[in-house]
């Protein structure tokens, strides 16, 4: 006579298998597990595409979006809501090995924070290149063209205004900055990103 697993054991093993944390696929019929996993990933991709538009667009342009979502599902507990999932995904992408992806994720998180909490303190974010062309491309749903590497600091919600501004560190000094732009307003970001 077959001994049934308890609900607890079965559910824990299923969770691990569906999230790709252990090779337990043999325990569950493979086509069925594949469907379950694909359903889970489909919902995650949909939610992240809609709630993390800049980061998702950049990852897609680099051919890494699906792999990034799979890794996110495997490595994090996930969330019950789109909003919490969005925050978790952006925090996860902020540790991306690609410094531009990391910068975009941190910037997107700061923009969302600023839109939700107008009194949030300004956030200064290190960028590996000029944020202007990158953000302009992402605002239009396109992947950015390559731009020369150069250290920039982008500030979200500077006290002087409601938008963004970014500065390039001058090669001639270490303390002075060459202000390059604040062409993108929070209104534009809100229209696209939220």
């Amino acid at each position: 006579m077959r001994t049934h697993e308890t609900l607890a054991v079965r559910q824990r093993r299923l969770l691990a298998a569906v999230k790709g944390r252990e090779d337990d696929a043999a325990r569950f019929a493979k086509p069925e597990l594949a469907l379950l996993r694909e359903t889970l990933l489909w919902w995650r991709r949909l939610g992240i595409t809609q709630s993390c538009r800049f980061t998702a667009t950049l990852l897609s342009a680099r051919g890494r979006f699906e792999a990034a979502v799979e890794a996110f599902v495997r490595d994090t507990p996930g969330a019950d809501s789109i909003e919490t999932q969005r925050d978790l995904f952006l925090a996860y992408a902020a540790d991306d090995d690609d410094p531009l992806c990391a910068a975009v994720a941190v910037t997107e998180a700061a923009l969302i924070e600023r839109l939700q909490y107008p009194d949030a303190p300004p956030r200064a974010i290190a960028w590996p290149c000029d944020p202007g062309p990158v953000l302009a491309a992402l605002l239009h749903g396109k992947g950015p063209v390559d731009s020369p590497n150069h250290a920039f600091t982008l500030t979200v919600g500077p006290p002087s205004g409601g938008g963004l501004e970014w500065c390039r560190e001058s090669p001639r000094t270490t303390k002075l900055y060459d202000r390059t732009g604040d062409e993108i307003t929070l209104d534009e970001v809100e229209r696209i990103a939220i």
Partner: protein, 286 residues
Amino acid sequence: MSARFIRLGATIDGNDAALIDRVIPLVDVVEVTPDRWASFPRGQPPRIEAPALAALSSIASRRTLSVHGVGLSIASHDGWNAGYVNLLDQMFGHPLPIAWHSEHLSFSRVDGEPLGTMVEPPWTHEALDMIAGRISALQDRYGAPFLIEHVVRAFAEGEDDEMDTASFLNALRRRTGCGLLLDVYNLECDHHNFAADPMRLLDALDLAAVREIHVAGGTMHNGYKVDIHSRTVADSTLALLGRVLGQTPCVNAVVFEILKEAIPVMGLDRLANELLRLRRVLDAHA
């Protein structure tokens, strides 16, 4: 013998004035999912804000309001989702005149971690005892009729099961007095994905317990029919609905499920036309 009246319903997921104004004149029942009306402020439990509660009150003043949960996770081994129950507490306590509420017979969390989708429990006596206890607790807590809905199967019935789907649902009904919510699109998915014969289930199910029926349209993915409420209702689903309506004498409402994210693609005009089409089907079975 008087003709029966079957209410037509639709889901409205979220406080969208254009959607509400377009749908309400076309339906008798509005079905809402608490999670879709809730806010999720950082670091705080989810809650339904005052404007959303006001909109729900306004809907309830014009149409029958039912609540359909996706977040309870009634079959989790370690307990239901307390955050979701808090939302229900808020809605029932507002108070909103909720005619009935329902939930999926599934788990979507394990040890507090979201699974990301809904999965049916194995049909075992352990699961039956646990879920029956929780249904009774829900009925005691809110004093409103409660319906349980079968989900699209993730796994074929098999050696993990101690009974079949109909026996499990009938036992829940007998033990708790809850009603059943039958989803004909889910039956179609199970038929396509696992060759589960919907007629076999219907023949064995206590159909007098069915109070509500869901219809929806989904899509195919890698050869599987998936439960994503993104399309209008297929003719095959309507044909199955017709057969089911002929066997469910106590059904109160047929509700068209549509995903919020699909509405911009479908468009409000097409949604309205779909509700008019469904109304004609129900009228034909009155």
